[in-house]
């Protein structure tokens, strides 16, 4: 997935849409929006990022999970299998992005890239609701997918590449 920080307005629609789509309880979220302002009035710049699990290629959360509940699914998507999760919190502590949270039902939850929708040929809820269309989703290895096209065209970055997790959420800058 790619997020265009130049178009995102921080409206948080992606967050509400995720909540209503994925039964995320009120008071919790799988995605969130960060706004970074830099400079001195009137020389200013803002970067707005809709963030979520990075579905890291080298995911520490998967590595440290003692039960295998956290796992790579088809396509490199990182998922948590709820009835294998013991709620030990190791994966939460291992995620440099704080992308996971303990669900009140006990297991740990996080962004699934809306795999249940993607499965049906739909886009993830956050992508399909975003009013500025600043979220791009698709197959990174298909050169014609929305994501690949936009990543080729634009400059991008990932978050905390130093942490070595090889994140798969790209921020267009």
């Amino acid at each position: 997935m790619a997020v265009d920080t130049k178009k995102c307005v921080g409206c948080s629609d992606c967050v509400v849409a995720c909540q209503t789509e994925n039964n995320v309880p009120i008071g919790y979220c799988r995605d969130w929006v960060t706004e970074v302002t830099d400079g001195t009035y009137p020389q200013l710049e803002i970067e707005i990022r809709s963030e979520r699990c990075n579905h890291c290629e080298n995911a520490p959360c998967v590595r440290c999970c003692p039960t295998g509940a956290s796992q790579f699914a088809e396509g490199g998507i990182v998922l948590v299998e709820h009835d294998r999760c013991i709620g030990c919190g190791a994966c939460i502590a291992s995620c440099p992005y704080d992308a996971r949270y303990p669900h009140p039902d006990g297991y740990v939850d996080k962004c699934t890239f809306c795999i249940h929708r993607v499965d049906k040929g739909l886009k993830p809820a956050c992508v399909s609701v975003c009013p500025t269309k600043c979220l791009y989703f698709g197959d990174l290895d298909d050169p014609n997918s929305d994501v690949s096209v936009v990543l080729k065209k634009r400059k991008w970055k990932t978050l905390i590449p130093e942490a070595g997790t090889r994140p798969q959420l790209y921020f267009l800058i």
Partner: protein
């Protein structure tokens, strides 16, 4: 991991077909079943609606889970208002339905032990009481002294009932507190108004100029979507705002103007366009009157002159004028929407209209298109009686250019005063929290005090409901039918609202309430239909569709019948103005004794130690109506006061600290507000989001959270042209010492 990434999920371009599951592993299956159980698996039935959280009225689909609870709302792909994408408030609309603080049953004011309180009542009893009092007041003072203040869908139902009863005293805060000045200014200039949704062709524009319009925070859906599309297509955006708005951060040029000085900038832009010949000569020649007068009028208003007033770099003023010229006619000097700022707003919007005329953007692609509405016939009913007096007569001689009824004019007329014999005696307030939406609360309270009877129709216990004699709880938009949405757009279209669930608690839809009340008032003749379904179905049949079909499709488009989306080049056009031309020199304004061409007036400046209070929108809330919505308070549960770091340092304010505010008239805010120290605001102003600081204790999430900006707006600059209430000449200072307990309540 390389290899798995190679099979990264394939989303087919058409959204069909889906994912290649070749060689799907055990893991995948496990995960899918797991996710299906989480999300309920199958998609249950969906019901069409259009959103009521703001007045963009996006059409969408309401989904329920198997237990019948409303779970999510998704935009309707065929809807030109939303293109299948609701805004955060629309998506969070489920919270309006779920909110457990909702009004649950009719309430009647009574006195117990000398204290006013509400008691629960049946609908029959409550409506009997309303009918009885309306009959008495109608008989004693005339039915036209019963006024309707309304905002939103219920207005047509209550309006119908009231008109049948003999009163046309109907008004909304969406004119004199909102769009009024721009509609009047554009009417005076082009002979037509902007409408809602705005007729701005942002999708195809090459240059969008936003003057205080904070699109992106102002989440009017179609505009934000089209602005984003325009950015993609390389359009340049110019934002004029004393605050580094979200839109400013997306702009090629941001002009950090000193607040209240926009007129000087607009005049300077005209000066530059005319002096450099950067205006559309052909267009101006063919379609406008008054160019020579305008040219002479703006001659002295050079960018250097404007610099002294606006603090904007003259080169920047020239540079941005050039940018507009280069894009012309695909350029939009956006008229904004909430434009009641400084009391000379009609003039400022006239200046905006003139700039658009000079650049030839009106009626051109990428400028302003010609919208068209679907013609929805009315179910036949007898003609309404002619009211003895029109509401305008209550403020006779004032606001003559107003093309809609002036709410504050009617509020003033409710307060008995010498010489005014047309006082309103009873109000129905439907869907408008007047204590948050009308400035000068003291005045509103005086009017409420003077009333003999107040009925409030609302979904939530708000400030206004506290003053009611009778509270009628409406169900939310997700639980009711309403009239067909038929606002104009590029293509004529309609949308329907169908209840997705039974009304919760003992609430009722406005159409039912109004009709029952009408029947109790003896107005059966005006309700020849059995119920709203029959009425809607009849209307839809006339349009070649039916309620049954609309329940399946939600939105229907029709081909354009009248003129084209844009003017045909080289053709003369007759404008609906006095001269039949675009009036750069306004005969309407002149006739009112107002400047026919915009003039700059200096506005009040903050006294020392005070800062101008400016306010606006947060993308996740609408005015005061969403402040208790569980889904939306989850995103933002209070407003904060933006303070420039220099000011914060001067006052020793720390980010996150709670303070109270005191305004120039010594009004102290009821609650405290959290400080946000940010470079995004000028040092002479502070900023907050409108709609917080609720003081109705029944709002469990919203009570006492933040400050109500309306409380601080006591200095109101009324626009002489149309009665708009300028709200931005208020200044606040910081109060750091106060009783914490009382403030956090």
């Amino acid at each position: 991991m390389r290899t798995t990434r190679r099979q990264f999920i394939k989303v087919s371009a058409l959204g069909a077909g889906g994912l290649a599951l070749a060689g799907s592993s055990m893991k995948w299956t496990a995960a899918s079943t797991l996710l299906n159980s989480l999300t309920g698996g199958v998609e249950p039935t969906r019901t069409p609606t259009y959103c009521e959280i703001c007045f963009w009225q996006c059409a969408g689909w309401v989904y329920k889970d198997q237990a019948g609870n409303i779970k999510k709302i998704i935009g309707n792909d065929d809807d030109p208002h939303c293109n299948g994408r609701l805004c955060p408030r629309g998506t969070g609309g489920v919270g309006m339905y779920a909110d457990e603080d909702r009004l649950k049953t009719p309430l009647i004011r009574t006195t117990v032990d000398g204290q006013d309180t509400f008691r629960e009542a049946s609908w029959d009893e409550a409506l009997d009481l309303v009918a009885k009092r309306f009959k008495e007041i109608g008989a004693q003072y005339g039915p036209e002294t019963i006024a309707l203040f309304t905002h939103g869908s219920g207005g047509s139902h209550f309006g119908h009932m009231l008109k049948a009863f003999g009163s046309q005293s109907i008004t909304a805060p969406s004119f004199a507190q909102c769009r009024g000045p721009r509609e009047v200014a554009f009417l005076a200039t082009f002979g037509d108004i902007i409408y809602s949704p705005e007729r701005t062709d942002i999708r195809d524009t090459k240059c969008l100029v936003l003057i205080g319009s904070h699109i992106g925070e102002n989440m009017h859906n179609g505009q934000i979507q089209e602005m984003s599309d325009a950015i993609d297509k390389g359009a340049s955006i110019i934002t004029v705002d004393p605050r580094y708005s979200t839109a400013a951060s997306k702009s090629k040029f941001w002009l950090p103007i000193k607040p209240a000085t926009d007129m000087a900038l607009l005049l300077a832009w005209m000066n530059v366009l005319i002096e450099n010949g950067w205006y559309d000569k052909e267009y101006v020649e063919r379609h406008t009157v008054g160019f020579e007068q305008l040219k002479a009028h703006v001659k002295p208003f050079t960018p250097e002159w404007a610099y002294g007033i606006t603090t904007l770099d003259p080169n920047m003023i020239r540079r941005t004028a050039k940018e507009m010229h280069d894009a012309s006619p695909s350029v939009i000097i956006h008229p904004g929407r909430h434009v009641t700022w400084y009391g000379d707003d009609t003039q400022r919007l006239r200046a905006v209209a003139i700039l658009n005329a000079l650049l030839g953007s009106w009626g051109r692609r990428g400028g302003f298109y010609n919208p068209e509405k679907a013609h929805v016939p009315e179910f036949p009913f007898p003609a309404f009686p002619k009211p003895a007096r029109t509401p305008r007569e209550s403020y006779a001689g004032k606001y003559n250019l107003a093309n809609e009824v002036v709410s504050n004019g009617m509020v003033d007329a409710t307060i008995p005063s010498e010489g005014n014999t047309f006082n309103f005696k009873a109000w129905i307030v439907n869907g408008t929290n007047l204590l948050a939406s009308l400035p000068n609360q003291a005045n509103t309270l005086k009017a409420l005090d003077a009333l003999e009877f107040l009925v409030v129709v609302d979904t939530m216990p708000m400030e206004i409901t506290g003053y009611a004699d009778v509270i009628l709880p409406e169900c939310t938009y997700l639980e009711r039918y309403d009239m067909i949405r038929k606002s104009g757009h590029r293509e004529p279209n309609i949308a329907v609202r169908v209840p997705a669930a039974e009304p919760k608690y003992n609430t009722k839809p406005a159409d039912w309430i109004a009709r029952e009340l009408g029947i109790k008032l003896g107005l059966e003749a005006f309700y020849p239909w059995k119920d709203i379904e029959e009425m809607l179905d009849w209307q839809l049949q006339q349009l070649g569709t039916s309620l049954e079909e609309m329940k399946r499709i939600g939105v229907k488009k029709f081909p354009r019948e009248f003129d084209d989306l844009y003017f045909t080049e080289g053709q003369d056009i007759s404008f609906n103005t006095n001269s039949g031309k675009i009036e750069l020199y306004s005969s309407d304004m002149e006739a009112e004794g107002l400047p026919p061409m915009p003039v700059y007036t200096a506005h009040e400046e903050p006294p020392s130690g005070y800062y101008r209070l400016i306010y606006g929108r947060a993308p996740m809330h609408t005015f005061s109506r969403t402040a208790n919505n569980p889904n939306l308070t989850d995103l933002m549960d209070e407003n904060v006061i933006w303070v420039n770091p220099k000011v914060a340092k001067l006052w020793g304010l720390k980010a996150g600290q709670y303070i109270k505010l005191r305004n120039q008239d010594d009004v102290l805010s009821t609650f405290a507000i959290k400080v946000r120290v940010t470079e995004r605001i000028r040092w002479d102003s502070v900023y907050m989001v409108h709609g917080f600081g609720h003081d109705n204790k029944k709002l469990s999430r919203a009570f006492g959270r933040g400050v109500n900006d309306t409380e601080m707006i006591t200095n109101v600059k009324v626009d002489p042209a149309m009665g708009g209430t300028g709200m931005r000449s208020n200044f606040v200072t910081f109060v750091t010492e106060f009783d914490e307990k009382e403030a956090k309540a």
